[in-house]
Structure formats: C-alpha cells, structure tokens
C-alpha cells in the first residue's frame, strides 16, 4: 500500500475505527515511513488540543430566550385574520378608481330602480304615515332628552313637545308623571300636569293624577291638581279630598278649593 493512500485513514486510525487490515498496514508503514509518523503525531496533537477546549454548556437564559423568541414568532406569524387583511389591502390596490366609480353608479341605479318599483306598490297615504311615524319618534326622543336638561325653560319646552305627539306613548306618559311628581320647578310640574290632563279620560292616568295629589306639597300645584281631578267628576275623589283636608298645615287656599270641589262632586 502506498503511503499516500494511507494518509486519509490516519484519522480513523487515531479513533481506532479502522478495520484490522488497514490498521496493520498503517502500523507497518509507520515503522518505515517517518513522514507518515510525523503526520500522525501532528494529528494526535491537534486532537489533543481540541479535547482541551472545554465544551460550553448553553446556559438556561439562552434556552429561555430562544423559547421566548419562538413564541413571539408564533404570535406574529400571519394568522387567518392578517391574511384577510393582507388580502383586502391587495384587493384595494387592485381595484382602480374607475372600477370603484362604476360600482357606486351601479349601486345607485339599483337603489333608484328598487325605490321606483316600490313606489308603485306603496301608496302615498302609507308613505306619509311612515314619515309621520318617524317624525313622531323623533319628537318623542327629543322630548325625553330635553326633560333631562338643567334649565327649567328647556324642560317646559320638552313638556310642550308632548302636545305634538298623536299617540299616548307609555314612555312619554311615564316621563310626564315623573316630571309632575319630581321636578324641582313648580312651573315645569304645572306644565306636565296640563299635558297629562289631555289623557285624563284614561282611567290609569286618572289614578296617576290622584296618586300625585298625595305627594304634592306646594299649594299652587295642589290646587291645579284638584281642579283637574274635579273636572273628571269621579265620585271616588270625595274620599281623597276629605283625607287631604285632614292634613295639618294645609294651605288656606287649598282648603277653600277642596270645599268648592266637594260641592261640585256632591
């Protein structure tokens, strides 16, 4: 075996991974070939140095950082949502302004076509009704909002809006009663009373007004309430009025009014 041929086997020879035949061949050659021996010594030296280098154990922080990085990457990795976003972005870019304009025109044409088709079937009366219902709703909401204003004048305005409402909406009635029983300002309470008087043919509202009389302490409002209640000619009010007469510190004008009312109700 030639010397050159054996050279590649020297590593394996050192690691003792060679088959017997090559091993023997190298051993015999080493005895006669100092160059090969020298080569082997050098290799041995290199191996020795390599073994001297301490093997670094990766510290825990490194592992943690790596894991953290992995996790972050997982989070940031494009999910379904970002894919869609990306897709939309691309989509917007690909639609030209012209295309967009066409789409809008088409939409408008469709809308008017549909609108005109409907016009044929819905008669004018129904449309007006729908419109007035919307206005009614608008007024109602405006009234409820205005009733919460700190200004007494604004609250009177709110109560006045209720006159424009066709229907006795339960929410409106409730708001008017709340105002009648709780508003700080007497004029606002009187305005609410007057607005409620319109519905006094309703038994529930009559009962609400009778109930309110027990809560009012201001003579001006007590008298106005007695007036309204007396107009209803409800005989059951007699007991209510007589109870009120028993109250201590009842204003002289209220007493006078009750006695007048009791005569009317006789």
């Amino acid at each position: 075996m030639e010397k050159k041929d054996l050279k590649p086997y020297l590593m394996e020879f050192l690691r003792e991974e060679l088959d017997e035949e090559t091993k023997i061949a190298i051993q015999s050659q080493l005895k006669v070939d100092p160059a090969l021996q020298e080569e082997l010594d050098e290799l041995k030296e290199v191996f020795g140095e390599l073994n001297k280098i301490p093997s670094h154990k990766p510290d825990i922080a490194l592992k943690e950082n790596f894991q953290k990085m992995m996790e972050e990457n997982t989070i940031q990795s494009p999910g379904l949502f970002s894919n869609i976003q990306h897709w939309i972005n691309n989509f917007q870019i690909t639609i030209s302004f012209k295309q967009m304009a066409y789409a809008v025109v088409l939409l408008l044409v469709g809308f008017f076509f549909g609108y005109n088709q409907n016009k044929g079937t819905v008669n004018a009366g129904e449309r007006n009704q729908q419109l007035s219902m919307e206005i009614e709703e608008l007024r109602k909401n405006m009234m409820l909002t205005l009733l919460e204003q700190p200004s007494a004048s604004e609250r009177i305005k709110a109560v006045n809006i209720s006159y424009d409402l066709e229907e006795a909406d339960p929410k409106v009635i409730e708001a008017l009663f709340f105002t009648l029983n709780n508003d700080k300002n007497s004029n606002v309470r009187l305005a609410a009373l007057e607005a409620l008087t319109r519905y006094s043919f309703n038994k529930k509202i009559r009962n609400g007004l009778t109930e309110s009389l027990r809560h009012q302490d201001k003579p001006l409002i007590q008298i106005a309430l007695i007036d309204v209640l007396t107009e209803m000619h409800d005989k059951s009010l007699k007991k209510e009025f007589k109870d009120l007469l028993q109250q201590d510190e009842l204003d002289a004008d209220v007493k006078e009014k009750i006695n007048e009312s009791l005569e009317i109700l006789m």
């Binding site: 007494a152 004048s153 009177i156 006045n160 300002n185 004029n187 305005a191 319109r198 043919f201 204003d251």
Partner: protein, 280 residues
C-alpha cells in the same frame, strides 16, 4: 342639584361667618366673592326661607353679597328675659345670630342661610351674564334688575317677583305675590312661564320683540295693550276619543301675538289679573 356634588373640589371656596347683632339694630355684612373664571358666565343659586332677595347685574367681575338681618321686633318669639326689661344689672349685647354660607365653584355660587330662625335680606351684585336660581318663602320679595342673556328662575310663596330689564327665558311662580316683569329682550327661543294663585301677572315686552302669549285667569281679567293682537278665533277644542266615546274639552287659554309671534310666554293666575303690555 348636581352642583352640590362638585362642591368638594379643590377650587371650592367656602366662607362661613356668623354675625351677631345688637337687638333693635339692623346688622349688615358684605362679602366679596372672587370668581374662578372672571369675566365668564356663571350661575347664582340663592335659597332662603325668610327674607328678601335682591339681585342686580353690574359691570364688575366679582360677586358682592350684602346681608342684613331684620330687626328682632317682628320676627322672633321674644324670650321673656330678653324683653325690654333685662334682669337687674344686665344689658342685651347680642342676639339674632345667623349663618351665611357662600360657596363658589367654577363660577357657580350658592348662597345659603339658616333663615328659618331669622329673617335676612340679601342684596347681591353679579356680572350681567349670571343665570339666577332664586327661591324664598316668606317675608320679602324677589327682585332682579339688569341681567342679560341668561335664564332666570324665581320661586316664592308669600312674596312678589319683580324683574326689570331682564331677558327671556324666565320661569317664575309665587302663591300670594304679584309677578311683574319688564323685558329688555325676548329673542331667546326658549319658553317663559309665570304662575301665581292670588297675585297679578304683569308683563311688559320690548317694542320690537316677537312673542306668543298664552294667558289664563280663572277669576280675574286679562288686559292687553292695543299692540297685542289677540287671537279671537274660536277657542281650541280638544277632542279625545276612547273606546268609541268622544270627549271634547274647550281650552281655557287665551292666545295673543306680539309683532309676528315667537317663543311662548305663558301667564296663569287664579284670582289675580294678567296684564300684557308692549313698551311705547
């Protein structure tokens, strides 16, 4: 009463003092209240039980509160010992103590007194653009002069409400007193309302003002100037129907217009008269 909640803020300025007065004499004390936002609009709330409230607008940037306690003679159940003949060897030096609290918070001023036991007359000067919320019960009137562009609320029971050189909207009521108002301007679109039981309501509008007046007096009369066009068409009939039964009621209000008509001014009294005037 939301503003009360805000009172605890750092900007709150509280002044509290008790004043003692020698009997027979009237004690007078004045407090100058600086404003958190001088020159800006504000609100004044005054609530006293016994006594009068007089507020006037002026060119200044502070609020000046002057309080006077009334003579003892008519307002106290006299204690036997404090009568004209004090115990031998003693003399009267103090009586009629009352507290006056003034709270200022972001241009909102509240004046409060414990006037259930004493009668206090308040004279307050405020910048013109201070909205007023005034309430007294007895022993004096509510007077306002020279306030512009803000709402005035006034409530009394025994007293009259006298407002001169003021602008709409105004919301006022009293049980026994009159309500007399002279407007310098009625251009606000918000409604005004006046209610009395025994008193008269007397409103004077500016010559060029537009207003719709809505008046009612149960036992008194309604008087108007020639300049007020009274809506003498048929009274409004309110129709209600319920379960096939129809109800009709004729409205009690009288309507009138000043110039082209405008925001609503309602004036109602039971036993007094209503006067609607236009400045000549």
């Amino acid at each position: 009463m939301k503003y009360i909640l805000k009172i605890n803020s750092l900007f709150t300025l509280i002044m509290l003092f008790a004043i003692t007065a020698f009997s027979q004499e009237i004690s007078k004390k004045s407090v100058i209240v600086p404003l958190s936002k001088p020159g800006e609009a504000g609100k004044l709330y005054v609530e006293i039980h016994n006594g009068s409230i007089k507020v006037s607008g002026y060119e200044g940037k502070e609020v000046i509160v002057v309080s006077k306690s009334k003579s003892l003679e008519s307002h106290h159940n006299k204690d036997k010992n404090s009568e004209d003949n004090p115990p031998e060897g003693m003399r009267v030096v103090g009586n009629n103590a009352y507290a006056l609290d003034i709270i200022e918070n972001e241009n909102k001023i509240k004046v409060d007194t414990d006037s259930h036991y004493s009668s206090i007359d308040l004279e307050i000067q405020v910048p013109h653009n201070f909205a007023l919320y005034l309430e007294n019960h007895r022993d004096g009137d509510i007077e306002v002069d020279n306030i512009k562009g803000v709402e005035i609320n006034a409530e009394s029971h025994q007293g009259s409400i006298l407002l001169t050189n003021v602008t709409s909207p105004i919301v006022a009521d009293t049980h026994h007193g009159d309500i007399i108002v002279t407007f310098s301007d009625v251009s606000s679109e918000n409604p005004s309302a006046f209610n009395s039981y025994n008193g008269n309501i007397d409103l004077t509008f500016p010559k060029k003002g537009n207003a719709t007046v809505k008046t009612k007096s149960e036992r008194g009369n309604i008087y108007t100037d020639m300049a007020v066009s009274v809506n003498d068409s048929e009274p409004k009939v309110i129709t209600k129907s319920k379960n096939g039964t129809n109800y009709y009621s004729v409205e009690k209000w009288n309507y009138g217009k000043i110039n082209s008509g405008g925001p609503e001014f309602s004036a109602a009294t039971s036993k007094g008269n209503v006067y609607i005037r236009v400045q000549k």
